[in-house]
Symmetry: C2
Subunit: 281 residues, 2 copies
């Protein structure tokens, strides 16, 4: 496994692999890896000859009041976890990806301003921009993302399609803690009490899933039920509860086709997201 | 020479070329080809094994009141001119590049809103977006543009650099009619009288070049001189006269380093642009 910090060095290595006809799988991450990331890397390992993992806490996807500075980082631990799984770990310094007069942004209009985009203006433009850049650097055959970040996945799929980026976007299921909490690097922000209460997201999703399975279709009613449910958790504050079309990400009023239930909930000061597919039949 | 209308077919052909180690040169155009375009294609022919020319009048770079519908088109004539020069001519229908729910845009902030961007809001975002798409489709080693569209060149260079698109951007000199008028597909809009008067752009550039060569450095004074000069041409109306740094495209007040003089002038209803390098020494 090679640790690489410059675009030129990574391109040189990958150019050699490509010349030999090797299939390249790529997992972009912000580091502080957990089982969610590792499930992507293992999948990439299964399906490709060469596996590239990037670790880059992307400054332009954080708002001015967000946690860019405090976002957890531990390259030594991450490297240990990737040994035997990844061939190349790309860890560029910020200046390698953002020159001083950097000013080009990739914007997926519409989708970027909704849901998480409302609470985090500019976030998805930052995500789309860095992913476009990384795809241009790595030029992988397949790139892997986790379903936990459902809107991110939708933004990146749309971006890659609209800009004709020749890559296959694969999405792997959310990996959860034993109690159901979706794995996230931000879970480390939670106090022990908050950590216990954070299971409310998973429980809310499960109860919605159950309600739909037993015939409830009206999203307003399901939302009301979820609001009541979440209100019992002292540290929880709802950012949004949304029901969207699985493909277009447009809001749906009735679960009469396969939908996605998106949750963003503050647990204390930590904003957590999760989602579940709701099967219409 | 093959005429190709779909992304899939072009990728198949170019994939084969690339596997054989062929170097690919690409000239994106909006068609109605003139000597300016052909000089780019000839240069591409000299420097590459495979030459791709795209002909696509890009709807998203035209404003709602601009000439998208009337922009001159003549594929038969263009094909004739390219025979023996290009290997592949890519002529996609609009739907091949823009799906119905297309919504991803590449924006070079700052630079896109200045100069031509002021008269043509959204123009350079449309240009940057389509060029990013075409570069992702063709994946050329080198892409060629003409110096006549100086700001376009600057926008594309910045975009390709900022987004790490692995391509070399080459710029070839403006090709001119015998009287000095820069070649442009839009010259066909000019009436015979306007065509005569359109030489005012070239003459203005020449007089500025001369003024600088003889020691004038103050851009305000040069601008005043040019305004007086252009005022003598009845059909001419100045859109802008700007002096910018050759690399950063920031405005300069004094020609104490190599600068670029940019002109945009309406001749009747036709907006023409041209530019010249001003050597500080």
């Amino acid at each position: 496994m090679k640790l690489i910090t410059t675009i030129a060095a990574l391109r040189l290595e990958l150019g050699r692999c490509r010349k030999r006809g090797r299939r390249i799988g790529f997992v972009p991450t912000m580091g502080f890896l957990h089982e969610g990331h590792l499930s992507l890397v293992r999948q990439a390992r299964k399906e490709n000859d060469v596996v590239v993992v990037s670790i880059f806490v992307n400054p332009i996807q954080f708002g001015p009041k967000e946690d860019f500075k405090t976002y957890p980082r531990d390259l030594k631990r991450d490297s240990g976890l990737l040994r035997g799984l990844a061939d190349f770990v790309f860890v560029p310094p910020a200046r390698e990806l953002y020159v001083a007069d950097f000013c080009t942004f990739v914007e997926v209009r519409g989708l970027s301003g909704e849901y998480c985009g409302r609470s985090r203006p500019g976030h998805f433009t930052g995500v789309a921009t860095v992913v476009a850049k990384l795809l241009n650097v790595v030029a992988p055959d397949v790139v892997y993302f986790g379903q936990k970040d459902a809107q991110q996945v939708a933004v990146i799929r749309k971006m890659a399609g609209d800009l004709n980026i020749p890559v296959c976007v694969k999405v792997m299921p959310t990996v959860r803690e034993p109690d159901g909490l979706a794995m996230s690097s931000r879970n480390t922000y939670l106090s022990p009490k908050e950590r216990q209460e954070a299971v409310v997201l998973f429980q809310a999703l499960k109860s919605a899933e159950h309600a739909v399975a037993t015939g409830l279709r009206d999203t307003q009613k399901i939302r009301g039920m979820l609001e009541d449910f979440i209100a019992h958790t002292p540290s929880a504050r709802i950012d949004y509860i949304e029901f969207v079309d699985k493909k277009t990400f447009e809001r749906v009023k009735t679960v009469d086709r396969d939908a996605l239930l998106l949750l963003a909930i503050y647990i204390g000061k930590t904003r957590l997201i999760d989602n579940v597919f709701l099967k219409a039949k």
